[in-house]
Amino acid sequence: MKSTRREFLASGISGAGLLATGASLPGFLTRTAWAACPQRDQPILVVVQMTGGNDGLNTVVPFEDDAYHRARPSLRVQPAAALKLDDQLALHPQMRGFKDLYDQGLLTVINNVGYPNPNRSHFEAMDIWHTADVRLKSRRDGWLGRLVDQQAHAGQPPFALHLDSESLPLALKTTRRSVPSVRDIAGFHLRGDVGALARSIAAPRNSRSEDLLFVQRVAVSSVANAGRIEHLGAGQPLRSPYPDYRLAKHLQQIARLIEADFGPRVYYTSIGGFDTHARQVLAHGPLLRELSDSVAAFFADLKQHHLQERVTLMTFSEFGRRVKENASRGTDHGAGAPMFVVSPACRSGLLGGAPDLTNLLDGDVRHRIDFRNVYAAVLRDWLAIPHEPILGGKFTPAALFRT
């Protein structure tokens, strides 16, 4: 594939020929660079971090369990309002978006996820999820960073991309490659007159320097990417509507990048505010609504562009929260909690079952599924990448995806 592109660029067309065809240059570059991009049609993972420690019990509600209602006199979700998933568990009333995805067979709720000896410090716990190392032997790199270092090749589009207002998370920390971090895809805008630039960069060179030709290939693909994104933005027919949330805006931009076949196979963003120690009712419902409506709009957008088969989205949080509400009508740091996976390939339904509120660990939900088994499933069964070198151990992939 590399040599095809190089031959094409170096000898195939003369500068005069390019101008004579009257081809619109960015379009020309789009076709050639696109066709040569090895990442086309590869499955994509979108990770949404829920920062602060999401209260799992009010998200995936064990509405039939008296122990739940007794523990949360003011915070408990009323069974009548909850969105039933089965006869034991229901989603928080504000999660209509997720309920719809569940009914369409696209959402899997993985309940009671955690790891042995749970850590209740934000900083430590988040690092554990980011490194997939419960002993935190080193914070040298993140689990996705390891993936990037192993899979990325010089000159290819970045393997992962961080699109968020926050700084690059430890999960994406690498030791070799770089992972771009942008707040906005305006970061991928090419300044100035693109046409003249594109022509002069792409024009064939009479050079034997492999390095120069390498640089040229990367530059051509850069310009092509920028052109694709601009092209997508301009004069588009009415797109799927997104709600007016920050997470929705980030996911919308990720959808555009996926549509543009920009290249990354992993996208990472976040939604914060889940550390609800006090007056939880004010913050939690709206956050869950932002999450589920934004993700639902994202998948509706992908579907409209026939891309929904290529994308799996996974959420996680650094811990759940205590079963008993506290004196401030909130909850404190806990342990086991749900993860959500939205995917065309998932078996759908519920994994992990209802929490056992009679057998707690220091007042917290015990985990039944180790998060590394979920990571393993996403790596092996969705991204088709061997999971053991990334996770540093044998973790049986959870039965998340249809085989």
């Binding site: 010089a154 970045p158 090419l190 630039l197 390095d211 850069s222 310009v223």
Partner: protein, 434 residues
């Protein structure tokens, strides 16, 4: 076969603009027109000698330099990053500035763990003070540097419970390279470094934690401490080869031929590992001006950003410099791992390349660049001269056919012709090569 024998200008291989600009670019950053003219006049020997002479920097550099302490005290690593880059833009000692970045990459200490701008500044000052001196002195100074002590967890290494990490990195990463020591050497060297600690940003040896017994390292026996181990390591032939390889990759080409590595290792030994004197040999050598090594390296983000500012004589705020370099993948004070930045092709992917292209466009935009400044300073009288000037300044006049026609076709006011010519040249693949 090329060698480290001194380059002597001949009619076939004269001292010309291209050679002068190449030397300045390799030993420092992309030069301004006046730097090129000065080097042309002085000739290669005098130019190299001038780079290596210790001396004062410019007033505008020094007044900026004094702000370092104040910035560090505020513990804002981002502003320290911008300050370092801005100093590189103003310095009249670009080789020293390049060597600071080289050593920063070599000793690869990251603020992500050290978490103190003051300590990172202190380490930088050590690299600047000792970076052109004898390598053994530099290595010892850095091994005792508090930021390094924290970075490599040297304090975990105590008598009776030696921790090998520090010793291993000193031998593997800093002096000898992988495999040029035995595990026994490492274990014994670890004992020699026990008790090396820092307190409140000052190095100390905790004598209670120091194992002062007899050790055997590299076949020699004695009651060695860390300084002794460093002396013994630098004496190993592997050290000369290891350093020579790194210096050649920085200043010559990504894959230097073994005979040049051996030759530069010999030069290091002959000069008692004095870095300035050894660089003097390399920068004035035939190899430096061998056509096969021209434009052989992909510029690092720092080289690219600082080079654009210096050659176009721009005034760019420190924060913009830091942001550009970081987004291109070189976040100073935070190398990605103990191995530093691998560089060359690994600088480039479609995202970092986009930043390079956008930065070039921005550099010549009205925000930072007033073309009339250069037009007046260098008395460029007509359109033909602007284009020639731009071609010479950016690519030493060696412009590919692919660019010649679009450049000739430019029209408009003088300022706009110069601006657009520079833009096309600065965004060319050729410009990414040094």
């Amino acid at each position: 076969m090329t060698s480290l024998a001194p380059y002597k200008p001949t009619r076939a291989n004269p001292w010309d603009r291209a050679h002068a600009a190449h030397l300045l670019r390799r030993s420092g950053f992309s030069p301004s027109e006046s730097e090129i003219l000065q080097a042309l006049e002085q000739g290669p020997v005098q130019t190299v000698r001038g780079m290596l002479e210790p001396g004062r920097d410019s007033p505008s550099h020094d007044e900026l330099d004094q702000l370092g302490r104040a910035l560090a005290v505020r513990d804002n690593i981002e502003s320290l990053r911008g300050w370092w880059l801005l100093r590189m833009c103003r310095t009249t000692r670009p080789l020293a500035a390049r060597m600071s970045v080289f050593w920063h990459n070599h000793f690869a200490t990251s603020n992500a763990k050290v978490r103190s701008a003051a300590l990172m500044l202190q380490q930088l000052r050590t690299l600047e003070r000792d970076g052109l001196g004898r390598f053994e002195d530099l290595l010892l100074a850095v091994a005792r540097d508090p930021a390094m002590i924290i970075w490599l967890d040297a304090e975990l290494n105590v008598k009776g419970r030696p921790n090998e990490n520090f010793a291993r990195e000193v031998l593997e990463l800093f002096s000898l390279g992988v495999g040029n020591y035995s595990e026994h050497d490492i274990r014994e060297a670890a004992r020699a470094f026990t008790g090396w600690q820092q307190r409140a940003g000052r190095f100390r040896v905790n004598s209670l934690a120091h194992d002062d017994g007899t050790k055997k390292v590299f076949g020699q026996t004695g009651r060695f401490d860390g300084a002794d181990v460093i002396r013994l390591a630098v004496e190993r032939p592997a050290c000369g080869r290891f350093l020579a390889g790194k210096l050649l990759r920085e200043f010559l080409c990504p894959e230097p031929p073994p005979e040049l590595v051996d030759a530069l290792a010999a030069a290091l030994r002959e000069n008692h590992f004095d870095i300035a004197n050894t660089l003097g040999v390399l920068l004035a050598s035939e190899a430096m001006f061998d056509a096969r090594y021209a434009r052989a390296r992909i510029k690092s983000p720092v080289e690219l950003v600082v080079g654009m500012v210096r050659s176009l004589e721009l005034h760019v705020p420190a924060s913009a410099l830091a942001s550009a370099s970081s987004q291109m993948g070189q976040r100073l004070f935070e190398p990605p791992s103990v191995k530093g930045w691998n560089g060359h092709r690994e600088w480039l992917n479609s995202a970092t390349m986009l930043v390079r292209l956008n930065t070039a466009t921005q550099a010549v935009s009205a925000e930072f660049f007033e073309p009339r400044t250069l037009i007046e300073r260098y008395e460029l009288n007509d359109a033909g001269r602007y284009i020639e000037f731009a071609q010479n300044l950016t690519l030493d006049g060696r412009v590919p056919d692919a660019l010649r026609r679009p450049l000739r076709a430019l029209s408009g006011s003088p300022a706009e012709v110069l601006r657009e010519a520079l833009r096309l040249l600065l965004t060319s693949p050729e410009y990414q090569m040094a």
